[in-house]
Symmetry: C2
Subunit: 483 residues, 2 copies
């Protein structure tokens, strides 16, 4: 059934025409009325290139205002945005463009040459080239069908071929509403966006912007010092971060403090080391852990403001319209995390078998392991595929990592299982030092003190950095290549 | 299509178990967890009376916590609440009970005898009688289908037979979300509810309560002094009022002031005299006019906080998911107000012809006249049925009333048209004096100064009070009986 609401950008331009929609690090800004007008003009220019209802258009862009205009323009035409990760190799890019049946690619200036290289013959246009086109008088969407497709984003899966996650308007809508019901919505809200917009964590901030009528402070890329400065000086109330960013921000912050109006550091991108969370707490930084994935249009489980300090280490409770269960829990209550709700994707584009495997009845099978405590709080343990079974015991790499990263002179740790004739699998650790003095023996001794013997890594490898994907998630399978 | 979300009360009991859901004037209170548990127990007791999926159960009750428990209990059973106005006559009550196919009536202690009188043979049970029953082990709803029926409320129509407006869960959901996006949602929110819960304006506060996780301060009835005191002393941030209440509250407040944390006086129930709005502004009272009706599950157009002072007299802009148009406007832009959105009813229960007449394509035909200014703000003029056409000129009674009520020594005014051999219709006025000294001639002279000749009432009648319906709306047709 079509569920129609007014086009969200048109609506916000009516409700708050003069309010800032986006401001950038360098001082550019655009109001909701300007954003609407420019997006509509851009749509009419795109129409001359035969982009319309159902077209799939790739966007390969830095975090910049023209990218947001392009996304809204496609929506005014009933076309679908395919967001392309700018860190992809030519081969990966070619695969996604073909798989998503993209008929044209739009780029910001920086990435035009990247696309030219790939030797895949579809039109490639920069935003500025499109702005120079004349306009075709087409009827633009005045309403949104919440069941229609809005965007496709490929999962940065660590194994297998990437899959294009479809997000309907309703998925983004449910995500924004769920977050507002959890975090509240203040009159002065301003969200700092620095995660790549080609990830759903970055994109979702701009969906919230048009739905809430909220200004976004847009950063092209992460810089701990500049981000801290912006939080302190520019009225930021909420920022989305991943663990590595939070670490650097806390280091960079030193003895300075964020102002009281800064009320939420929304932390996603996988389980965070408890030591980091405690450090944040000691610095009075309001960190709220979240759990989510591309398939859930960003967060689906989040700690709420009044629980954040009491439940350190938990990802919180499912958002208002979401539900959570642990499938087939073991004696300790640990099992695979299943979720459902209106923010959950209807599936992967053009991939029925992967879509079928994604659901168990109406529940989304996340592939992550976790448990729920007696009060209903979720604790995420690890990717199910990363679980190490050693002599019949379950070892969660994230648990071992979280312990080791709490040791002095250690910056980052990655743990993975290797084959073992006796135990089946045993854990080994890859360590990035923060000071040269530390030795493998010291680390082993520390681990033996803190962990059951079977969880203690059998080998320590020192490395310069850990393999992370474009979402900054640790790719544990890649660790094996560093042995 | 079924759109499922978790049962909202169960969900809120999980998210904020220890938070106060409702507190009363006299100091009683109940947490979300207690509200959930008591509602579930009550549901299981109701199940022994054969109440279940699709049952229609009437509730005739004062504003009290057991009424809210009963409403949630019916929802856990998949039954529909039919809210009965306690001010109805026996005849009206009998009509509504039959029309809504009510199979049982629940009452608070005060109203039991009222129902006994009506001589209509269906079971009548007080809340306390039901609490004494044993429980039947039935499966309670854990999810809500947003397209299912939640409540039926009869419109207090000034003409014709009352009609039962169906509200789905989705209507109430859309209303609560639309309001949150307009007003924002602060961590300390507390809504004072004193409008009768049998009206949608009263009921909707309790829907917001479970959806937002927000405490409600519940008053059994309006008392200007007690309400002002509660706003000043009990952390109230928002209150819903109608014009007459606002007038009395301002009078009673005198030189006192509301605290800054009190951020919204949501004013509904028809166009308000501009003099009152200006008086509120001068007293720094944050009044936001709203426009809505039972058919829109309360407000559908509302002034937003940042526009309230600049746009006095306007009802604001349609809520985020709502749309508004003026049908068939005259040269001045005035025409009938049409609205649509997910908070709009799907129709009247068991009344296809009235439902068909309610819609023009997908738009709800409100029966109200108004215009939209160049910035998109709605100004509500009058009920279309109250419009006086005099010698081809349109006279809006509300406009004439608003002018006269601005005169000293006048408390309230009602204007209505009477037949006239020359002009077709002419306006006459019914005046409630606030001081005995004022004369009809003085009023006429004042009116001639302020209004075009054809708008000046041809007769002034002094009356003790104006006829108002249970929603405090002026019933202009009834004025004629006072001649």
């Amino acid at each position: 059934m079509a569920e129609m609401i007014p086009h969200w950008l048109t609506k916000q331009a009516l409700l708050a025409p003069q309010k800032i929609a986006i401001e950038t690090e360098t001082g550019e800004s655009i109001t909701f009325l300007q954003l609407e007008k420019q997006s509509k003009h851009f749509a009419k220019k795109l129409a001359t290139l035969d982009i319309g209802e159902g077209s799939h258009v790739g966007i390969l862009s830095a975090n910049e205002i023209p990218m947001i205009i392009a996304i809204h323009a496609l929506s005014y035409l009933g076309a679908v945005t395919v967001l392309l990760n700018t860190r992809l190799t030519e081969e990966e890019l070619t695969y996604q463009i073909k798989d998503a049946k993209v008929s044209m690619i739009m780029t910001s200036q920086d990435y035009k040459s990247d696309v030219k290289k790939i030797g895949f013959h579809i039109p490639v246009k920069s935003f500025s080239m499109i702005r120079q086109l004349s306009e075709k008088q087409v009827k633009l969407r005045s309403e949104i069908n919440l069941n229609a497709n809005f965007s496709i984003i490929y999962t940065s899966g660590t194994t297998g071929l990437p899959k294009g996650v479809i997000h309907t308007y309703g998925n983004h809508w449910a995500s924004a509403i769920g977050s507002a019901l959890n975090l509240g919505l203040n009159a002065n809200e301003k969200w700092l966006a620095m995660l790549p917009i080609f990830h759903v964590s970055g994109l979702s901030v701009f969906m919230k912007s048009v739905i809430y009528g909220m200004p976004v402070l847009l950063f092209n890329k992460f810089d701990a010092k500049k981000v801290n400065q912006a939080i302190i000086e520019r009225g930021v109330t909420i920022v989305s971060v991943v663990t590595v960013m939070l670490q650097r921000m806390i280091e960079e912050l030193g003895d300075s403090q964020y102002p009281e109006t800064f009320r939420c550091m929304l932390l996603g991108g996988g389980p965070a080391p408890k030591t980091l969370l405690v450090e944040a707490k000691n610095n009075q930084i309001p960190v709220f852990q979240t759990y989510g994935m591309t398939e859930t249009a960003s967060q689906i489980v989040t700690l709420s403001p009044h629980e954040a300090l009491r439940k350190i280490g938990s990802a919180g409770k499912p958002l208002f319209t979401a539900q959570l269960k642990i499938n087939n829990p073991d004696v300790k209550g640990v099992g695979e995390i299943y979720v459902k709700g209106p923010m959950v994707t209807k599936g992967y584009f053009n991939n029925e078998s992967a879509t079928a495997a994604l659901f168990d009845e109406n529940w989304l099978v996340t592939g992550d392991l976790g448990y729920v405590d007696h009060e209903g709080f979720l604790y995420v343990m690890d990717r199910r595929s990363d679980l190490i079974i050693s002599g019949g015991e379950n070892i969660y790499p994230a648990e071992v990592e979280a312990v080791l990263v709490g040791m002095n002179h250690i910056k980052e740790v990655g743990v993975v299982g290797v084959d073992d004739a006796v135990w089946g699998k045993v854990p080994i650790a890859f360590v990035v030092k923060s000071s040269p003095s530390i030795t493998a023996k010291e680390i082993m001794d520390y681990a033996k003190e803190k962990l059951a013997t079977y969880k203690v890594p059998k080998q320590i490898y020192f490395v310069k950095q850990l393999p992370r994907n474009a979402s900054n998630k640790l790719m544990r399978k890649e660790l094996l290549k560093l042995m």
